[in-house]
């Protein structure tokens, strides 16, 4: 029983953090909104280069052969940086599903030559410009390679959405488990939520220490202190559940226990990021409400990710079922 990350895991995280800081600063995120594909040029290749896309692919297939515990803080960093790519979809869900199904598309996926997104619960897909979609079809998964979708504009410009209207070509992904895929998607999203919340909190702490009103720093007012203390507390009691869920997904063979742990994580991470966004905006005041100021990148990510792959109510219901009430 040792609930901490290894030095290697921390180092990997640090390297990815630096990559994002370097290749995906807020300006790059904003530029991606005007690109045809909504991507940050070169970032996907750099992630492939670094092995990030291959974390959950077995070594035999050219991957790193790591697991969700290795991945979880990487995805947190993606949230922290506001990466506008379907990273969770591709890395945390599609890659292991392709591996489990032994599908040939795995090679391109981990090489960064393709981008694969998800449609596990219907309605809206993220990363509408992706090359393929891992799609839930009854109790199985498919890899959809040709489809029609209506574009949909998210409040979050970093999310290129589409509403799937027709599937014209798809391969079965036998051996890949749709429930596991969903848990991975929820876990990855929870990790991103933690990263987004951290960034919102850091940015706000920095701002309120500098900004003065009525002759003293805004951050010296007790109301502001308590708003941000509450965010910190929510974060510090949500993050361990996310790490614990990563362990369950990687190591627990009981789908019910795994689902319960993932749902606890996503419920608390959603709540934490929601509170972080609310207080970040309130403590920033008007400046945080503008399009020009970068806080909006994380505010919108907070709103959308809190609900993505199951909102608080959905995941609490799953926990309720798992614990017999």
């Amino acid at each position: 029983m040792k609930f901490s990350f290894t030095d290697e895991q921390n180092m990997f995280r640090e390297t990815v953090r630096e990559l994002f800081a370097d290749r995906c600063p807020p300006d790059a995120v904003r530029q991606s909104w005007d690109n045809d594909d909504g991507r940050v040029p070169g970032l996907w290749a750099a992630l492939a280069e670094m092995g990030v896309l291959a974390v959950l692919a077995p070594e035999a297939a050219g991957g790193l052969g790591m697991n969700e515990v290795d991945l979880v803080r990487i995805l947190e960093e993606a949230g922290y940086a506001g990466v506008p790519e379907p990273l969770v979809e591709h890395v945390a869900v599609a890659v292991p599903a392709l591996a489990e199904a032994g599908h040939a598309a795995l090679e391109a996926a981990i090489a960064g030559d393709s981008t694969i997104t998800l449609n596990l619960s219907g309605e809206v897909i993220v990363g509408a410009a992706a090359d393929a979609v891992v799609h839930r079809h009854g109790d199985t998964l498919q890899l959809v390679t040709e489809w029609q979708a209506d574009e949909a504009a998210s409040i979050d410009q970093s999310r290129r959405l589409g509403v799937l209207t027709d599937i014209t070509a798809a391969d079965p992904l036998d051996g890949a488990d749709p429930d596991l895929a969903f848990d991975r998607a929820a876990l990855g999203t929870a990790a991103q939520c933690i990263g987004v919340a951290r960034r919102l909190l850091e940015a706000t702490v920095e701002y309120v220490a500098e900004r003065h009103q009525f002759g003293k720093p805004v951050g010296s007012y007790q109301a502001v202190k308590h708003h941000l203390a509450n965010v910190k507390i929510a974060l510090d009691f949500a993050a361990p559940l996310v790490y614990r869920a990563a362990w369950s997904v990687a190591h627990d063979d009981d789908p019910a226990a795994r689902g319960r742990d993932v749902s606890m994580a996503k419920a608390q991470a959603s709540e934490a990021v929601d509170l972080a966004a609310r207080q970040a905006l309130q403590c920033h005041g008007a400046i945080g409400y503008t399009f020009e100021y970068d806080l909006q990148l994380w505010l919108k990510r907070a709103w959308t990710l809190a609900a993505a792959h199951g909102d608080v109510r959905f995941h609490r219901d799953r926990v309720a079922a798992a614990i017999g009430i």
């Binding site: 009525f214 008007a286 409400y289 109510r313």
Partner: protein, 378 residues
């Protein structure tokens, strides 16, 4: 206590409702776009011509001398009908009470009818980069030069500022004076040479505000409202209006609550927790209504709105957020999608500014604690 509507109020309500039904302009553009702004201005003229622009004003300025109850009924009907919002709100709700209180006869005669008809759409120019909720930090200088003031400095967060015709500003006319001293309330034409405006996008990119830059901009001293150096007192009277009855009448929230109710009623297998949230918001809209009718009764007895207006500001701004956040939750994964049928998303973004503008809710709670409850300031 008598909560029955007297026959003349019933007649007023029916007339109002009928007119709004007959004259509904349909969906028009956003008032934060150049085209939508002019469409909204045209709607103001339609209202004005029919006498429905400023019903609570004296008829000489385009109103119909409504009493407070009629005004509240008008607001309820207005918002429930779903006609466009009021691009004139800054002027009618925030500036007009100040002009009525502090304006000269000439100012009243010139500005009020033009405001009522939509000829003058007003923006508010109070905040500055270093003076948000703390207006005493205002630095924009206005130095008298003959009959004019020469303005230098910067204003920000001017809602409607991108397209407005006039801006009501607070400027520092005595640079030696500190904090609340030496401020003056000044009405500034948007076409003033030396004044530039730059739109600021709000969260969703729409230019909801503008920044104003004054570089030796010359404004006639005739446009001072309430006396040079009196800006703080004059502004505080208007701040009372902003937080009080006139800016956010219950009708607005009752209409939103009704739309939320209808949205929920159409959801199959409505989640009981979401039902609970809808009901809670619906009840609060009613609470806001009855709190307002109570205040109206006091006002009609001659009382004034004091610091308890701050309670209303906190309540309606958090209610507005609750109404819109609940609607988005009801819409599930489609809540984040901007499309023609999703006014809730736009409304949510707007509602997010509620706890911030017109004095943050933190400041309002301080006011409630110190000035309503009498807790020690320090």
């Amino acid at each position: 206590m008598n909560l029955d509507l007297a026959p003349q109020y019933v007649a007023f309500r029916d007339e109002c409702r009928q007119w709004l039904t007959d004259n509904h302009p349909g969906r028009i553009g956003s008032m934060d776009t150049a085209i939508g702004f002019e469409e909204h201005r045209a709607w103001e003229k339609v209202l004005f011509d029919a006498g429905w622009s400023v019903p609570a004003w004296p008829s000489v300025y385009g109103g119909c001398d409504c009493d407070l109850i009629e005004w509240l009924i008008y607001e309820e009907e207005y918002w429930l009908s779903g006609v466009p919002g009021r691009v004139s709100a800054n002027g009618v709700s925030l500036l007009a009470p100040t002009i009525f209180n502090f304006g000269t006869q000439e100012q009243q005669d010139f500005f009020l009818p033009r405001m009522a008809s939509g000829e003058h759409i007003w923006a508010q120019g109070w905040s500055e980069p270093e003076a948000g909720s703390d207006l005493a930090g205002i630095k924009t200088k206005a130095i008298l030069d003959g009959d004019d003031f020469i303005l230098n400095g910067q204003k920000t967060w001017c809602s409607r500022g991108a397209f407005a015709d006039w801006i009501f500003c607070i400027v520092r006319t005595d640079p030696e004076a500190e904090r609340h001293q030496g401020l003056t309330y000044l009405l500034v034409p948007a076409e003033t040479p030396g004044m530039e405006r730059r739109p600021i996008g709000r969260l969703d990119g729409e230019p909801g505000f503008a920044e104003l830059f004054f570089d030796d901009a010359r404004v006639s001293a005739e446009h001072v409202l309430g006396g040079v150096g009196q800006g703080w007192a004059v502004a505080m009277a208007a701040a009372g209006s902003e937080r009080g009855l006139s800016l956010r009448s219950p009708g607005r929230f009752m209409a939103a609550a009704e739309r939320l109710r209808a949205l929920a009623a159409n959801v199959t297998d409505l989640d009981p927790r979401l039902r609970d949230e809808v009901v809670d918001a619906w009840i609060k809209a009613q609470a806001y209504r009855w709190n307002t009718y109570q205040m109206a009764a006091d006002l009609m007895e001659g009382d004034e709105i004091g610091p308890e207006a701050s309670e209303g500001k906190v309540f309606w701004s958090e209610l507005d957020l609750e109404l819109h956040a609940t609607a988005l939750r009801l819409m599930g994964p489609m809540g984040e999608v901007a499309h023609a049928g999703n006014d809730w998303l736009d409304g949510y973004v707007f509602a997010l500014s509620g706890p911030i503008y017109a004095g943050t809710n933190e400041i309002q709670r301080n006011i409630v604690a110190e000035r309503v409850l009498g807790l020690p300031r320090r």
